[in-house]
């Protein structure tokens, strides 16, 4: 009984801790982060890491976090749109653009599709480039070898990825093949339910190449050869990984992570938060968090962020149509 009581009190305090919310104030000195997924995921790490850097650097007096799982982030998005909470930002990433394109309709009161246009884009803060890799023992030395083998026999190249057809992992590989003049829809994509499983599939020999985020591959760098990344130039964390661009394939793709405000957020608040997110990247506190997570700083505020999202939407719409997923 004593034990149970203890457990009850621990649990209660844990719940209180998790659901602590901030009250609104005039100047932005407290921020509440809404996270559309559970603890330990990519969104969770981005929000908590950013909040930690902002408070430690003295830019915020406090940051609070709220995990709201459901519908692949859609639940949190609907919450932002429907309740318009003050002093609250939502963490999101490229899948928001993809879901804006596909069919997640009818989850908000009234009409319309859930889209980044329904919330206020504040700034993109970090990103992960896409990467194509082969097993160390593979005969493919660069992306050109892969394309040649594919052109000879499309069945000889099977491409693993850590998520479903039409997902970001699929699109990264499809973009590369499209740039090489191949029909992206004819490339055989083999989906797995996590990046780690896709990696195991590649190394077990059941697929020949993998298409995923560069970050997914960092742990297995001794086992794989990265033959093309979707960055404009080589990145310092993986200097020996060539870009697709330098091999003559004009492919650029970044899986951004950034923050969004509720609809109707004032321009002043938006500008203040965007500036804060940019300024924090110059602090040592941010650098600590960044290095711990091996993030790539890609700061993209307000209007620039919006035009980037528009461009990504156009590119992805065209590609997804070709792939037949929309």
């Amino acid at each position: 009984m004593k034990n149970l009581k203890k457990i009850v009190s621990v649990l209660f305090s844990a719940i209180l801790l998790f659901s602590a919310t901030t009250s609104s104030s005039v100047a932005i000195d407290k921020l509440h982060f809404v996270i559309g997924g559970g603890a330990g995921g990519g969104w969770d790490g981005t929000a908590r890491g950013t909040g930690e850097a902002l408070t430690k650097a003295g830019m915020l007096s406090s940051a609070s976090f709220e995990n709201m799982s459901g519908g692949g982030g859609g639940k949190a998005l609907a919450y932002m749109i429907n309740t318009k909470p003050a002093n609250t930002v939502l963490v999101q990433s490229t899948p928001l653009v993809l879901r804006s394109i596909t069919r997640h309709k009818g989850y908000v009161k009234g009409s319309g599709t859930l889209s980044y246009k329904d919330v206020v884009p504040i700034a993109g803060v970090i990103g992960d480039y896409g990467a194509i890799a082969v097993a160390k023992s593979s005969s493919f030395k660069n992306f050109k070898d892969v394309v040649n083998a594919y052109k000879k026999d499309p069945n000889s190249v099977k491409m693993a990825g850590g998520s479903v057809r039409g997902s970001m992992d699929h699109l990264i590989g499809a973009l590369a093949f499209q740039a090489a003049g191949a029909d992206p829809n004819a490339v055989q994509y083999i989906p797995y339910d996590a990046g780690g499983k896709a990696l195991a599939g590649l190394l077990s020999g059941e697929t020949q190449i993998i298409s995923t985020g560069l970050g997914e591959l960092m742990g297995a760098r001794d086992q794989v050869r990265i033959i093309g990344i979707t960055a404009p130039s080589r990145v310092s964390d993986a200097p020996d990984a060539p870009t697709l661009k330098e091999q003559g394939y004009d492919v650029q793709f970044v899986n951004w992570r950034g923050f969004f405000g509720p609809p109707g957020m004032s321009n002043a608040d938006r500008a203040a938060i965007a500036k804060m997110l940019g300024d924090v990247q110059k602090t040592p506190e941010w650098e600590t968090v960044r290095a711990r997570n091996a993030w790539v700083n890609i700061y993209n505020p307000e209007g620039k962020f919006v035009s980037f999202l528009e461009k990504q939407t156009q590119e992805m719409t065209a590609l997804m149509k070709k792939l037949g997923v929309i």
């Binding site: 009984m1 457990i7 603890a39 459901g70 797995y192 780690g196 990696l199 195991a200 297995a220």
Partner: protein
Amino acid sequence: MIEGILIGLTTALTFQNILMVMIGCFFGTIIGMLPGLGPMTAIALMIPITYGFDPATGLILMAGVYYGAVFGGSTSSILLNAPGVPGTVATSFDGYPMAQQGKAGKALAIAAWSSFAGGTLSAIYLLFMAPSLSKVSLSFRSPDYFALMILGLTAIAAFSSKGQFLKAMMMVVLGLMLASVGQDSLSDITRFTFNNMNLTDGISFVLVVMATFAMSEALTIILKRNDPTSAAKQVSLTELGSIKINKEERTKMYKTIPRSSVIGFLIGVLPGAGATIASFLAYGMERNVVSDEEKEKFGKGSVNGLSAPETANNAACSGSFVPMLTLGIPGSGTTAVMLGALLGFGVQPGPRLYMTNPEIFWSIIMSMYIGMVILLILNLPLIPYIARILAVPKNYLIPLILFFSVTGIYVMSFNNFDIYLMIGIAVVATFLRLYDFPMPPLILAFVLGGLMEENLRRSLLLSNGSWEFLWDRTLTACILATTILIVVWHIYKTFRKKN
């Protein structure tokens, strides 16, 4: 290797690292006992704290939480039929009936010793075979995983004795149906979500377990409170708390533990499986090898049936470090979080880890031995007290179980919908229980069904739609042949008994 062991021991035996093992094990045990909260969440929240530690120290702490949670999860499985972590679901199949017979202390002791033995034996396997084990990790392809899941389904036989066959099969179908809700595993299409966003991610395994086990058990007890046959038997507290394992039971465990630890460890090494699958497979396999007399006891408080999954889940836990450390491949959410932390420390996993960071590799293995001893010391003396939970009057205990089920699910997703869904499933499950439908086949089908479908369809994609993958690879063919042998053997025996 001896050099490595020495390096590992000197690192693991520093005051700071022993302290970390203790903290990790203690914290993990608590997290494990609480339904809903799992090791993955705990470790994710812990990462900012470990930053600034030595990489070995940080990993020792996280590993401690991980196997501590699997160790502690069995307690709530056995006492309350409310598995604390997914890996201990199979523990409740025989642990809970045993506790209901007034042998809660004994059940907890068997679970503790089995976990200890499973963890220690697998640390020994790790020590001797880790370099070659990375090949085992990569030897399994999608068709082999598919075959493995089919083999796992044969464990259903364990719950279909005495005219229950049809009911067990119906529960299997229900489990498979529940597993198909949500986004399709290979394409962007959602199934059976009724346009409800809360269902697009599918139904979580923990939710189904909490609803069909803990909650519906509590509801059944309430409904049957006036039923004289199931009136709570008054058991003496000394009997309830007794942790004595008699010689006969010990003999059984001596046989179960070695074979279950090997199965658990090997399944743990595979990136596509994990502790939950390992415990189910060990449970099913155990039933296939024990005597006919013992077989009858499965699901009703069998010692072998309790010891097998408890050994296997801890063994799988150690096994899952193989692909993470030697290949940089995370096989589960928990190891993915740990891999992220490892990279954050600036440590590159891979075959060269022995050379580049021997102290990390060996000290983790060494800390596992220490951790197992600590867990045993931590758990055994507490058993008589913990077991007394069952002596708490039912009108206090039942509301508490219901409370923990609801809060446990809520802190996992922070989504109210999950609570309603759980209550709905629990009500249906309670009805089914009243008509003697067994719940374990549903759980087994739910967990294996999703993986089975995914691997089958991936195999078909890989072989361009041809079914040849079923016999193309020796490994696939062997696993499928074993499955057929087991089924034929069962049918033959049933047939012979009838005549």
